[in-house]
């Protein structure tokens, strides 16, 4: 068997693949956080909880109503998006004029409520979600087996990330969005309905989290705690990348996922802390983050 640095190539490629999978989740979640922060000036602590909610909606759909994976991929983000719009209209909109910290505190409270509710209903043990038939099994590449579902997660999330980038950077709607981020009052004066855009941005951002949740459901166990464990790492990703650039978020997310995956091969003890160590190093060398601008 072929080996690289004394590690069988199959194990190495396998972990690389897993790293790309978790990197896809980091990318999608940090992208959503960045888009929301740009418009609302709020760090959405509930992002992890809404990701968990997306996964649970997919699981509940299949368990209770027989909703297939493909429909869940559409319906769960829509539902969570509507929940997001309701949250924005009833709570977040009152906080825009206040210190950013209040947004963080409010969404932290929301995260606790969501996590507590699902924990009360389903306990902390994970619920299994079977991979849909079309995506189960693996492709034989000769030197390794490539599980189809992992490939699908990477392709789907990259597509969504790039579509989001295109939407924001290249379309007219995106131009309005960027204008409203830069100067909401002036944009409003040009006759663009900024509050509506803010509302839709939040809805879109959390729908993205829910989409990631549905993708994650078959890849890992659906558990009430899956969101909060992830969101803290995503915060570190956001600090490393900075929230100034969309492509920056995507690249940082994927890159850190890969680094984490490789750490699992070479030094497994550090795999849960490596992202935080990188964050500390980045803070020492480049405090504004890799793609960030110091305001």
């Amino acid at each position: 068997m072929t080996e690289i640095f004394g590690i069988p190539i199959q194990a190495l490629m396998g972990q690389l693949m897993l790293g790309l999978v978790s990197g896809s989740f980091y990318a999608m979640l940090s992208l959503g956080l960045a888009v929301i922060f740009g418009m609302l000036n709020i760090i959405n602590f509930a992002h992890g909880a809404l990701y968990m909610m997306g996964a649970f909606l997919a699981w509940m759909g299949l368990e209770y109503w027989g909703v297939s994976y493909w429909w869940a991929l559409l319906l769960a983000p829509l539902t969570v998006g509507v929940v997001g719009v309701v949250i924005e209209r009833t709570m977040l909109q009152w906080l825009y004029k206040l210190d950013h910290l209040y947004g963080l505190l409010l969404t932290f409270g929301l995260a606790l409520i969501l996590e507590g509710l699902f924990r009360d209903l389903y306990g902390v043990a994970g619920q299994p979600y079977t991979i849909p038939d079309e995506l189960s099994g693996a492709i034989n590449l000769g030197f390794m087996f490539l599980p189809k579902y992992r490939v699908w997660v990477i392709v789907a999330s990259l597509t969504v990330c790039i579509a989001t980038w295109y939407l924001i950077e290249k379309t007219r709607l995106g131009a309005y969005l960027r204008a409203a981020t830069e100067n909401p009052k002036l944009t409003q004066a040009f006759g663009i309905n900024v509050p509506l855009m803010v509302m839709l941005t939040y809805g879109f951002g959390v729908a993205l989290a829910a989409f990631a949740g549905v993708l994650a459901a078959p890849a890992m166990q659906v558990s009430p705690l899956m969101g909060s464990n992830l969101i803290i790492v995503v915060f570190a990703v956001v600090v490393i990348g900075g929230m100034g650039s969309i492509l920056g978020s995507i690249v940082t997310g994927l890159g850190l996922g890969v680094i984490e995956g490789l750490t699992k091969v070479f030094y497994p003890e550090a795999s849960s802390t490596v992202v935080f160590v990188i964050m500390a190093l980045v803070l020492l060398v480049r405090p504004a983050g890799l793609f960030g601008r110091e305001k």
Partner: protein, 311 residues
């Protein structure tokens, strides 16, 4: 001024008789969390820095003190000091990284670094992993007072709380405290006035971390164990909630907030199970939306309005 002194005397009297009125261990728990929240308030309320990783100082000190007392067989007071020093040292390390960014990033960085240390604790052998560090003896104070007795321990804990509370009170009302408030109100102006803002931030961070550690170490001594729960981010969220509910930037707010939360959790624990988290979350949301000044802050504002009407 006179009414304030009167108020503190009343609180001190309440503290002295409390173990005869309530279950001493519960009151000690309240005192530990009150100290934790007061230390945290020094940072959030008076300097405007939201640390979302303060539980790590609370938990670290609990582990270090527990280890020092159980394994190294240090007397309880030295054990507590060791825990406090360890928390202060960790505070220096985390603080000097976190103060490189402002506002929302500061919160995310403290949370992430705390999570990193949490994972280290999860893997380290001296913490006992998921089981925690158990069976730490309370020992005897100065070789005379037997702390295994709840009442004796209570007055020891009260003395610790009183000393630390006085220290925090002095800090807030010192020139140093005034500079902290200046940083909170307008950091750019504080810099332009020639203050080395980073130095002040780091100093208050270390002080806050060390005092949070003292609270954690004391709580360990009361319950005779240290677990990962003490260091988990949930605990960081709880101390934020206590401070917010009581009133950030008020001297007594954290004491009121932590008492309410500890008693509430104590009452609810058996009745609603994991719904406690939901209730804590709901209190968070209500506080942020409806009364951001917290209980003590709102009362002070109400009092001011009354005086204003009379004048």
């Amino acid at each position: 001024m006179k009414s304030a002194t009167f108020g503190y005397l009343l609180l001190a009297a309440l503290g002295l008789v409390a173990p005869f009125l309530f279950y001493p261990v519960l009151v000690m728990k309240v005192l530990c969390f009150a100290l934790f929240a007061c230390a945290f308030n020094l940072l959030l309320g008076y300097t405007g820095l939201l640390s979302f990783g303060h539980a790590i100082f609370f938990g670290t000190a609990a582990y270090v003190a527990g280890h020092a007392i159980k394994v190294w067989e240090l007397p309880p007071l030295l054990g507590l000091l060791a825990g406090t020093a360890a928390a202060g040292l960790l505070g220096w390390a985390i603080g000097s990284l976190a103060i490189r960014r402002q506002g929302i990033y500061f919160a995310m960085i403290t949370l992430a670094l705390a999570q990193m240390v949490f994972f280290l604790f999860l893997q380290a052998s001296f913490t006992g992993g998921e089981d925690g560090l158990q069976g730490v003896p309370r020992g005897t104070l100065f070789g005379v007072v037997d702390l295994a007795d709840d009442r004796n321990l209570y007055y020891f804990v009260l003395a610790i709380f009183g000393t630390a509370f006085w220290l925090i009170h002095r800090t807030i009302h010192s020139p140093f405290g005034q500079i902290l408030k200046a940083i909170r109100e307008n950091e750019a102006r504080a810099i332009s006035l020639g203050y080395d803002v980073a130095k002040y931030k780091l100093l208050v961070f270390v002080l806050s971390a060390a005092l949070a550690g003292l609270a954690g170490a004391t709580k360990m001594l009361v319950f005779k164990f240290a677990t990962l729960t003490d260091a988990h981010w949930h605990m960081s969220g709880e101390v934020v909630l206590m401070t917010l509910l009581g009133g950030m930037g008020t001297v007594l707010g954290p004491v009121v907030g932590s008492s309410l939360i500890v008693i509430l959790q104590n009452e609810l624990a058996d009745k609603v199970g994991s719904l406690v988290t939901v209730i804590m979350g709901a209190i968070f949301v209500i506080c942020v939306l409806a009364f951001r000044r917290g209980i003590v802050g709102e009362m002070a504002a109400f009092h001011k309005r009354l005086l204003g009407l009379k004048a």
